[in-house]
């Protein structure tokens, strides 16, 4: 395999041998008498030396695997060995044998004594130090090269320490090697030793690497790289230069990545490529250059990827994928060049003897031609040999599986681009892989890849690219005689998205028609002739094979050559009219196309049977829109449902031949006008609603709004039929319209029986009240009673449904019609009730006094727009209140018009209480109804809770007995009662102040004492002097113990004025 010669040698690419926590040493166990590679005698002068190449192929291996940096002789010997002398001698002999073998090399030698005893701390074992010195002397070793390995518990610890010591020795060895190579430099001259400059520089760098001095290694490799490009290049040594440049570049890039300077690596690689891109070398072997370029990119991609795996972050625009991609491009170029350059006639035979064969089976120097190794002259001494050499390389190249190489590189790139968010790049590479598989005649794999990426290009609308992919896919399916794929790709290539020329489309269409006629299609252009022959046989087999000849191809995922739009004429149809829709078809192919059947599928498959067109000669003329109209009667069960066209199936071909069913599914689409229609203006209406028949009845509602809180509000529903036949199974649904505030449902009750007040358990909606049948023209009335517990607006629903027979398109159907009415009814308070407390003198009281009578006044103000009848009222007192006299209603059977009010007043008394915050009074119940002519309206009881009242105790209560009026100059007897309300004896000062209108007799001023719970009477005789409303002589009471008891308070209890009539 000639590609082998371009691969990097293993020695170049190998890695440090061990894990990071141990020193990087490569160990080899060798027998004591192992022969190491012989060291050539040291050159004392380079004057007559002419190098034959840059780098010997064996050199790296020699220094990696054959020539050691350090040889360690392991020898079992304890310090207290009884036969010490003999053992010491044997050890020295062994060391000497090793030394002999390493003659001339700088390799270090060390001795490790394997001992069974644990050593004593250094300096304590006198014998040990003596014998150690003796042994060193015998073996000609420095003390630093003798080690002890006690075979005891801590073996690993000892081993690690030994390793570190060995590592130091090894580093010293490589240091001296570097010095040695450097020392040659002074003997070199620039004319004859150009190659040696590169070789030595490379060696220095390589030794530095072995020394683990990567910084210096990098520096020296860089120098070496520059030196390589300074070499005089010619067609004959171009490969050698490029090979070495490639090696060094690889090393530099790898070290840059290792030093975490990826940008340096990229820059070096770019420089490398720019320098080498044009160094093609022999034109006859140009494929070799492409292969080399491909290799460079691939190797860099690998290094990059490896660095990423070790933690480097790559980005979308700079990731290994680009390098693999470029490697693939060069591999493609190689393939192309090979196809031109290696296009030998089959009669050309491989040269004998093989010019690629060498004596040793390997090359002496990297990158040289086997047939002229070590020849530095640029002139070809033996042109015939050269010709044979080139021929053999070309013939070898012929056998390379290029496609395999390309596909591997492309798939490497795909894996990278997938990682770095490049979906389109990935698709593009997959297309290339597919095409490569096609060239490699692996049509199944090609088709699989192409089919996979096709949709990406289709969904983004890149028709040129899609057409190109489809064309390849069509070739694949032709060559494999895959009927269904062949038809599918043909359909799309004929469609409007395809960018093929008319003649190509025409050819494809003809082939498609042939296939539909069960004939073999013509081969696709530019196909491999052998493959075409094979496929023609396959097609012939297909044709003779009968059976499953119907293919259903779902076309909604791609753009076929027949476009289809379907449209219901209306977004909804009444159940008693036929559903109508149109299907429009249009072909984009170059020739008219015949089809045999058109069928429509619906969401409800029962309708499918009504919508089939089957004719022998249905034809679609390109560019003309064809319309098919359909009509069917919807089923009554589908009322309220949506009917959707799920697919339109177009059948090409005939039952006898091979038929193709193209199914077009509808998602959401556009609709349109008539006959010669403009396709783009057509909008699709793929679904329609079936709605119920229009009802032919009237519904009227009679009521007197607004409703009053808690009353049984009467609403009369009148239904009249205008149908021509009897309406059967009439049902009424009445009540609160669903979907309103949930609280309303609890505060609204509906009943058919208005005579009794309903309670909260009644429903808010009465569904499906059977009403019976309605004859044509018949009228029906139904009273509904509604009780609304809260004020506010409510929507009520009245829904009448019935069954009726009707005829559509000669078909009798029984359909249900319905009509509904909604009404919004406001609910208001029927009246406002105000309550107040007053004294017996009708003065407003904010508090009442214990045991002293007061008045409770109620006032009912009608807020209803309709007259109200107060049936009765009732005062229910709480336990702490006592009526002073009989409680009876004064407003019984009073009718209140809007804005009128009815008042009542009750005299009450409250015993003393300790509760300061107030005393419950009780409640006031008003029984009322609308003053409507309907007798049956039930009475509503409205309960009003009376306010609390604050009760206060007073020390002294004064009351007066006096007539309701006086007469001028007629005696007017007045008796004041002074009642002690406390538990104390009270000193009271009473005085009466005269008034101008009266004379009086009685005690004008007195001081008296009232015992607890008793009362004193004061009797006066007033004698009015003037007529009119006169001020009485005023009584003043002064309580010694209660200075707060003022005359003002007194005025509350006793009259201050009296009306004096004229004497008759």
């Amino acid at each position: 395999d000639p590609s082998d010669s371009l691969d990097f040698p293993v020695e170049l690419c190998c890695r440090p041998w061990r894990s990071a926590d141990r020193v990087p040493i490569s160990f080899k166990v060798l027998p004591g008498d192992h022969e190491y590679p012989k060291c050539r005698t040291k050159r004392t002068s380079y004057e007559w030396y002419i190098p034959k190449g840059i780098l010997k192929t064996g050199w790296m291996n020699k220094h990696l695997n054959l020539v050691p940096a350090l040889v360690v002789v392991f020898y079992e010997l304890d310090w207290d060995e009884p036969q010490w002398k003999e053992k010491q001698l044997e050890c020295a002999t062994r060391v000497e044998i090793v030394r002999q073998s390493l003659q001339g090399r700088n390799t270090k030698v060390a001795v490790v004594l394997i001992q069974k005893k644990t050593p004593l701390p250094p300096g304590e074992d006198v014998i040990a130090s003596e014998r150690a010195a003796a042994l060193c002397n015998a073996c000609d070793l420095s003390g630093k090269s003798l080690f002890v390995l006690p075979h005891t518990d801590h073996l690993v610890g000892y081993i690690i320490r030994l390793e570190n010591a060995f590592y130091e020795h090894a580093q010293t060895y490589y240091y001296t090697e570097i010095r040695r190579v450097k020392s040659h430099k002074e003997f070199l001259n620039k004319t004859t030793h150009q190659l040696l400059f590169v070789r030595h520089q490379f060696k220095i760098a390589f030794f530095s690497e072995l020394k683990q001095d990567t910084q210096n290694a990098l520096k020296n490799y860089r120098t070496a790289y520059n030196l390589v490009h300074e070499l005089r290049a010619h067609e004959t040594n171009m490969l050698e230069i490029k090979t070495m440049a490639g090696f060094i570049n690889y090393k530099i890039c790898r070290l840059c990545f290792q030093h975490n300077t990826p940008l340096d690596a990229i820059a070096q690689f770019r420089k490398h490529i720019d320098l080498c891109k044009k160094k093609i070398g022999s034109a006859e072997l140009a494929f070799e250059h492409a292969a080399w370029m491909s290799k460079q990119f691939q190797a860099f991609g690998d290094l990059f990827d490896e660095a990423i795996k070790l933690g480097l972050t790559a980005i979308q625009t700079q990731n290994p994928g680009f390098y693999y991609q470029q490697a693939a491009y060069y591999a493609q170029e190689r393939k192309q060049l090979a196809s031109v350059l290696c296009n030998h006639d089959s009669s050309v035979t491989y040269p004998n003897p093989d010019p690629l064969e060498t004596q040793t089976g390997v090359l002496d120097f990297y990158g040289q031609r086997p047939w002229r190794q070590g020849i530095l002259s640029f002139d070809l001494s033996d042109p015939e040999k050269e010709k044979m050499g080139i021929l053999s390389l070309q013939l070898k190249e012929k056998n390379v599986l290029h496609s395999e190489l390309i596909i591997t590189l492309l798939s490497n790139a795909v894996a990278q681009f997938k990682k770095y968010k490049c979906p389109r790049m990935k698709s593009h590479l997959m297309v290339q892989m597919g095409e490569e598989y096609y060239y490699a005649k692996d049509y199944a794999k090609a088709l699989k890849l192409l089919d996979y990426v096709m949709c990406e290009y289709r969904s983004e609308g890149w028709w040129t690219l899609l057409t190109s992919i489809l064309t390849t896919a069509l070739k694949c399916s032709y060559l494999m005689a895959q009927l269904k794929n062949y038809i599918t790709y043909s359909l799309e290539l004929l469609g409007r998205a395809s960018t093929l020329k008319e003649d190509q489309k025409s050819r494809i269409e003809k082939n498609l028609i042939k296939v539909l006629m069960n004939e073999s299609p013509d081969p696709e252009p530019d196909c491999d002739s052998a493959a075409v022959k094979a496929s023609q046989k396959l097609w012939a087999d297909r044709v003779s094979l009968a059976g499953s000849n119907i293919f259903t191809i779902e076309v909604q995922d791609f753009i076929p050559f027949v476009q289809c739009k379907a449209k219901f004429l209306a977004p909804s149809f009444h159940v008693d009219v036929p559903v109508q829709f149109d299907v429009y078809l249009r072909a984009d192919c170059p020739h008219p196309i015949r089809f045999s059947k058109l069928c429509i599928s619906f969401s409800n498959q029962d309708y499918n049977q009504y919508c089939v067109v089957e004719e022998e000669t249905m034809c679609l003329v390109p560019g003309k829109t064809r319309k098919f109209s359909f009509k069917f009667v919807a089923k009554t069960e589908d009322v309220g449902k949506k009917i959707e066209i799920t697919s339109v199936d177009l059948i090409l071909g005939s039952e006898s031949g091979r038929s193709l069913q193209a199914a077009r599914s509808f998602k959401r689409r556009p609709k349109l006008p008539d006959n010669e229609v403009h396709w783009d203006t057509l909008t699709i209406q793929a679904s329609t609603m079936i709605i119920s028949r229009v009802p032919n009845i009237s519904v009227q509602l009679r009521h007197e709004p607004p409703a009053l809180t808690n009353e049984m509000y009467c609403l009369i529903v009148t239904v009249q039929s205008h149908e021509e036949t009897v309406a059967k199974d009439v049902k009424l649904t009445a009540g609160l319209k669903p979907g309103q505030d949930a609280n309303l449902t609890q505060k609204t009750q509906v009943t058919l029986h208005g005579t009794d007040a309903c309670d909260d358990s009644f429903p808010a909606l009465l569904p499906d009240i059977p009403v019976g049948d309605l004859q044509p023209g018949e009228k029906l009335e139904k009273p509904i009673y509604i009780r609304c517990g809260t004020v506010g607006a409510r929507m009520f629903l009245f829904y009448i449904s019935y069954l009726i027979n009707t005829v559509v398109e000669g078909k009798e159907i029984l359909c249900r019609c319905h009509r509904d009415e909604t009404v919004t009814i406001d609910t208001v308070f029927p009246f406002d009730v105000t309550v107040k407390f007053v004294s017996t003198k009708l003065e407003h009281l904010d508090r009442v006094f214990a045991d002293i009578p007061f008045l409770l006044m109620t006032d009912i103000l009608s807020a209803s727009p309709w007259p109200l009848t107060i049936v009765t009222s009732q005062l229910q007192l709480s336990a702490s209140m006592t009526p002073v006299d009989q409680l009876e209603s004064y407003v019984e059977n009073v009718v209140l018009q809007t804005g009128e009010s009815a008042s009542e007043c009750f005299c009450l008394r409250c015993p003393p209480v300790t509760n300061a915050s107030g005393v419950a009074t009780g409640c006031y119940i008003i029984s009322w109804k609308r003053s409507s002519p309907v007798e049956s309206v039930p009475v509503v009881n409205t309960v009003i809770t009376l306010p609390h009242v604050i009760v206060e105790s007073i020390p002294l209560h004064v009351s007066a007995d006096l007539p309701s009026f006086g007469r001028v100059r007629e005696s007017l007897p007045v008796r004041y009662h002074l009642q002690n309300k406390t538990n104390l004896v009270q000193d009271v000062e009473v005085s009466v102040e005269p008034s101008d209108a009266f004379m009086f007799s009685g005690l004008k001023q007195i001081r008296l004492r009232i015992l607890p719970g008793t009362q004193q009477e004061m009797l006066y005789n007033f004698y009015p002097l003037m007529a009119g409303y006169q001020q009485l002589p005023s009584l003043h009471v002064n309580l010694m113990r209660f200075p707060n008891f003022t005359n003002q308070l007194l005025r509350r209890f006793i009259p201050t004025h009296i009306f004096v009539k004229v004497r008759l």
């Binding site: 490529i273 979308q316 625009t317 680009f322 470029q326 491009y329 968010k421 490049c422 979906p423 389109r424 790049m425 593009h428 297309v431 290009y457 983004e460 609308g461 890149w462 040129t464 690219l465 190109s468």
Partner: protein, 139 residues
Amino acid sequence: MAVCIAVIAKENYPLYIRSVPTENELKFHYTVHTSLDVVDEKISAMGKALVDQRELYLGLLYPTEDYKVYGYVTNSKVKFVMVVDSSNTALRDNEIRSMFRKLHNSYTDIMCNPFYNPGDRIQSRAFDTMVNSMMMQVC
């Protein structure tokens, strides 16, 4: 001078692609299409910036061995992609910018045409002429 100029709709389908006739047209279609990966990424990274501070010029999208691909995105997310020969080192960033600006202006003129439906493929003689003036002249 460019070797390929493309206008891409907001939905990423091509409104206009023109390339030098000497080269494989399909290759440029693929180059422009794959460059949309980078455009998408740049736009989504830009999404966080304020709309009016947005830079329309996206710069170099990615370099290939042979070509450099530059991008530009309008506020309505219409993209312009320009492919330039890698060997053409004379072309500076500023020149690329001004070429894009010219393209944008010409595109705006098309949008102002009442007979042009936004989203349709561009068929305009004025636009063709302008694009031609920016394309590499092949003798």
